[in-house]
């Protein structure tokens, strides 16, 4: 197979499968469509992660390598938070206290794993240098944690009642992200030089702001398209006001209900 065709099939088509499958499983109300969506999502993800083997000649395979490198810490964090949350004060499906401890260990393990990718020898390396997409991912994630946890702190301060503990936690998470950025900017890791990290933090900030502004414009266009369409629709048929007989019947039923009438009605 030609290289361009291989890249299309194993990377771009797989990416389309991933996106289409995710949206289908998320939005569809039909059971078989949701299952098909999950299947497409899984197939796409596996194909993307296999690109270091299926497309070793393509620079895009570094993205697949990054995905594979992030699966471990993502699963630890996701399952860990799930265990902690559902061993708490939930009305149904409560997990045991043992699972809470396991969840806590998994979350700490996930965080240490991610930090170890910057500060230890776990940095994703592909093919023989640090994966270039790691330089985009790590500063983006740290900036994202900082912004989202600060936003959550603000939301809790504005609308949360008796949520001081959660506010302190969000403040702590934001501080941890801020501290990670500052330490990375001043000290070299074994594979990532601080100067490189600093330049990547600024480029990641440009990426994040650009992506947010672009998405905002798209949502505004989307809203505009729907408003224009809805305004062009004819008004729905208006019902005639109730006549005297209907009003009498309604008042009789209301009176029955107020007096504890038949439940059949």
């Amino acid at each position: 197979m030609e290289e361009a065709t291989q890249a299309f099939v194993f990377f771009w088509l797989a990416g389309l499968f991933l996106l289409f499958g995710f949206m289908l499983s998320f939005f569809s109300k039909v059971h078989w469509q949701r299952r098909a969506g999950l299947f497409l999502f899984g197939t796409g993800l596996l194909s993307l992660m296999a690109t270091p083997w299926t497309l070793p000649f393509s620079p895009s395979s570094a993205f697949g390598h990054l995905l594979g490198s992030l699966i471990g810490p993502s699963v630890l964090l996701g399952v860990g938070f799930y265990q902690i949350t559902f061993s708490g004060n939930v009305p149904v499906g409560k997990l045991g206290p043992g699972e809470r401890k396991i969840g806590f260990v998994m979350v700490v393990g996930g965080v240490l794993w991610l930090q170890g990718m910057h500060w230890w020898h776990l940095t994703p390396t592909y093919p023989d240098e640090v994966n270039r997409y790691w330089f985009i991912f790590w500063p983006t994630m740290l900036l994202g944690v900082l912004a989202i946890s600060s936003g959550a702190y603000g939301v809790l301060a504005m609308v949360g009642a008796q949520r001081q503990k959660e506010q302190r936690l969000m403040g702590g998470v934001a501080f941890f992200a801020l501290y990670s950025i500052l330490v990375g900017a001043f000290f070299d890791g074994p594979n990532v030089h601080s100067e490189r990290f600093v330049s990547q933090v600024f480029l990641a900030a440009a990426d994040v702001f650009g992506a947010l502004v672009g998405a905002l414009f798209a949502v505004l266009v989307f809203a505009l398209v729907l408003v224009v369409y809805e305004r062009q629709q004819p008004d729905p048929d208006r019902l005639e006001p109730p006549n005297a007989e209907q009003l009498t019947q309604a008042s009789r039923m209301i009176a029955q209900q107020m007096e504890g009438g038949d439940e059949d009605e």
């Binding site: 990054l66 004060n89 983006t140 900030a205 990426d207 992506a211 798209a218």
Partner: protein, 153 residues
């Protein structure tokens, strides 16, 4: 209870989100003296890519909207147009010499590189959201249930 104007609430929330980012970027810039070279190009590339891809994703959500609206074609056409305008603008600006080109040799390579970088940014933000939401819900669920007392009842 004081009712704030929705725009005021949005402005306050925006401040909470943006202020720490600006503080950390200013601190790093101040102490490390980063040049910020290539930021504008990255910003514009990310903006165009995000606009185009989000338009196509929103186009897909219109199929769900169509379930409740006898499958109208006008909004589909509108969002298709929006997506193609985004793609057209991206190709146009990338074709203007070195304006938006980075380390790629052709317009196609730069456009594909933008898409992969956008995917990486989304993964970073998605994982960040998962960490914050996970921490928040873990804390909310681990505390005692909040009881709301109604004076009238």
């Amino acid at each position: 209870m004081n009712k704030s104007h929705p725009l005021m609430v949005l402005a306050r929330l925006g401040t909470f989100v943006l202020f720490p980012l600006l503080v950390v970027l200013s601190a790093v810039w101040w102490f490390k003296g980063a040049s910020g070279e290539g930021m504008l190009v990255r910003f514009v590339n990310a903006l165009l890519t995000s606009f185009t891809l989000t338009s196509f994703v929103l186009l897909f959500t219109l199929f769900v909207y169509g379930d409740a609206r006898k499958r109208p074609t006008a909004p589909l056409f509108g969002m298709c147009l929006s997506g193609f305008i985004g793609a057209g603008l991206t190709v146009y600006f990338l074709s203007q010499g070195e304006l938006l080109m980075e380390d790629n040799g052709s317009v196609r390579a730069q456009a594909l590189s933008n898409i992969i970088r956008f995917g990486t940014t989304m993964i970073g933000l998605g994982l960040a959201g998962m960490v914050v939401a996970g921490a928040l819900f873990s804390s909310v669920m681990s505390g005692p249930r909040n009881t709301i007392l109604f004076e009238e009842e």
